[in-house]
């Protein structure tokens, strides 16, 4: 009970310790908690609200305070300008196409490989498994230059193949799905085998239906990760029409246009992941916790 001794020095650290520990005055503690969390929430959401509000404001060259949070009049001019002056529509299409194919492909290959590593007994299994662990350790940015050189040699710069390729298999996804398959009792496999199913049928008809939630979690994480990736798509595309939305918006930011135009671009890049987040936040947070716990 050292922290509650009345003579304890009131240094900030002591106060923090007292506060983190149990306090008799639960009511005060609740008030302070809400106050802190409220301030933090405003600082988290505030910039997005201002972004939206500026994007709907007419003729706004600079973002200066104080501003009207509800613009008068509300206009879609900035979005009109964005679509007229930049290839934003094309970038949005590219991003959706790349993210969807990458996600579906990545989840599909992860369930396959995860199954093989969980149930299979094949020559080279352990070697391959440790090789995959090895890749997981490698920092992605160190591979960017050789990846570009390889794609350049193959003439694949500015292609969807280049944008999607590395996302078509996921080491993290393979490990996640392997864990999931391991959590299903082998009795299911044995029963299926007795009914005459081969390993493919067992995978597709018996085990996969039980893993839909895990596949959704993985799918959402992959979609977000792909949509938000920046360095790789920046490097494998040089033509404006092959850019993904974030890379395209990066060029908009560097070109120094109106605040209104910038914020319209920001809203366009923000909305898709925001919608996915709203719909799937349970899965996302679950997925993040999983990756941390296994750490």
């Amino acid at each position: 009970m050292s922290s509650l001794r009345p003579q304890a020095q009131r240094s900030p650290l002591t106060l923090l310790r007292v506060w983190i520990g149990f306090q008799p005055n639960q009511g005060l503690r609740t008030v302070i908690t809400y106050l802190l969390m409220g301030v933090l929430a405003v600082s988290t959401v505030g910039p997005f609200i201002i972004m939206l509000s500026v994007s709907l404001t007419q003729n706004i060259r600079f973002l200066l305070f104080p501003i009207d949070l509800i613009p008068n009049p509300i206009t879609l001019e900035n979005f009109q300008l964005l679509f007229d002056r930049t290839l934003a529509l094309r970038w949005t299409y590219n991003s959706f196409y790349v993210a969807l194919v990458s996600t579906l492909g990545g989840v599909f290959t992860s369930t396959m490989a995860g199954y093989a590593f969980a149930r299979g007994d094949f020559i080279g299994r352990n070697v391959l498994f440790y090789m995959f662990v090895g890749i997981l350790i490698m920092p992605e940015t160190a591979l960017i230059i050789p990846q570009y050189i390889m794609l350049s040699d193959l003439g694949l710069v500015n292609s969807y193949t280049a944008l999607i390729g590395p996302w078509f298999a996921s080491i993290f996804g393979t490990f996640l799905m392997r864990q999931q398959f391991l959590s299903i009792p082998r009795d299911y496999d044995d029963a299926a085998r007795i009914d005459g199913a081969n390993i493919f049928d067992t995978w597709l008809r018996v085990l996969m239906p039980q893993l839909v939630p895990a596949m959704v979690t993985l799918g959402i994480l992959r979609f977000m990760g792909n949509w938000n990736s920046f360095l790789y798509p920046l490097i494998v595309t040089t033509k404006a029409e092959m850019r993904t939305l974030p890379v395209g918006l990066g060029t908009v930011a560097r070109s120094g246009g109106d605040a209104g135009l910038d914020m319209a671009g920001a809203v366009l890049g923000f909305v898709p992941t925001f919608v996915v987040f709203l719909l799937g936040q349970r899965y996302i947070i679950q997925g993040v916790s999983l990756s941390g716990l296994k750490g």
Binding site: S2, F122, P246, F270
Partner: protein
């Protein structure tokens, strides 16, 4: 598994049997394997070859042996970039680790609306860096009445130049990073906090520990593996920071935000020195690996606490 140790007579048959048993499994991993070889193994091996050349990928290709590595010693911009990279990690990792833990402790209380707050804090993390850069470029504008300077003005602090100031640019980008990521690591801390079995706290209370001491002797030791994980992951992320720097400062002002990855990018794509950029990539890889290894050792990543 034991086929190799059988007597020769049965050996061949056992091996055949094992191969036949193995075959149906390969289709399940073949796509993974192809992607891995094409996009990881091949670039990875070819990097060591390219690093020994001076090449612009077009007409010029000249073998220089270890010349690219010798060149690093005299590359002052590289030295500055490494200094900036470590400085960035220092400005980013400790605040992020501490803030995310404190927020996790806050939202771990059994109060109304905690789920809502958790979602809100997670929001910047699912937003891509180009969007954040578009927004914060405006917030960090040096004008007196730009958002941050306006707020500073309210408390009597003079206007700052943020991204245009050589002493503030790196810190501004690190702060943006902390703001973006604290929600992610909050979730990881939360998972760890909630995985601590309640009986341990009860036992602690029986032994006479309350308040801070309860956390000192129960929570903190049990959070150590997670702390190690968070520190290593955030450090690896910090050493590879690129997007915000590319969009917001382009490595400036006066190279104040030129980090290792930005330097590699710039050498390759602004100066078409692909051989040198490959050598720099190897350097970056070694640096990250060594730091992650040392942190792992020091923080005893694998130690079982239970």
């Amino acid at each position: 598994m034991s086929s190799a140790t059988l007597r020769p007579v049965g050996q061949r048959r056992a091996l055949t049997k094992r191969i036949l048993k193995s075959l149906p499994w390969y289709p399940f991993i073949v796509i993974n394997l192809v992607v891995f070889v094409v996009f990881n193994l091949w670039p990875w091996l070819s990097m060591f070859q390219t690093a020994t050349f001076k090449t612009d990928l077009l007409s010029h290709r000249e073998f220089v042996g270890l010349g690219n590595f010798v060149k690093m010693a005299g590359d002052e911009l590289l030295h500055l970039a490494l200094k900036n990279t470590f400085l960035f990690a220092l400005l980013y990792v400790p605040p992020l680790v501490v803030v995310s833990l404190l927020v996790a402790i806050l939202v771990n209380q059994k109060l109304r609306g905690m789920k809502f707050f958790r979602s809100v804090y997670f929001l910047p993390n699912v937003t891509n860096i180009a969007v954040l850069a578009l927004v914060f470029r405006r917030f960090l504008s040096p004008r007196d009445d730009a958002p941050f300077n306006y707020l500073l003005g309210l408390v009597g602090i003079p206007a700052q130049r943020f991204l245009l100031d050589i002493h503030q640019a790196l810190a501004s980008i690190a702060s943006l990073g902390v703001w973006q990521s604290f929600g992610f690591f909050m979730v990881i801390w939360l998972a760890a906090l909630q995985a601590i079995p309640q009986p341990l706290y009860d036992a602690g209370r029986v032994d006479g520990a309350f308040g801070w001491r309860l956390h000192r002797h129960v929570t903190i030791p049990l959070l150590r593996p997670t702390a190690a994980f968070v520190v290593v992951i955030t450090t690896i992320g910090a050493l590879q920071e690129f997007g915000a720097i590319f969009i917001l400062t382009g490595g400036g002002p006066v190279n104040a935000t030129t980090t290792a990855v930005y330097h590699i990018y710039s050498q390759a794509f602004n100066f078409t020195r692909f051989g040198y950029a490959s050598a720099l990539s190897i350097l970056l890889f070694v640096i990250i690996l060594v730091i992650a290894y040392v942190q792992n050792r020091y923080l005893k990543f694998d130690e079982e606490v239970y």
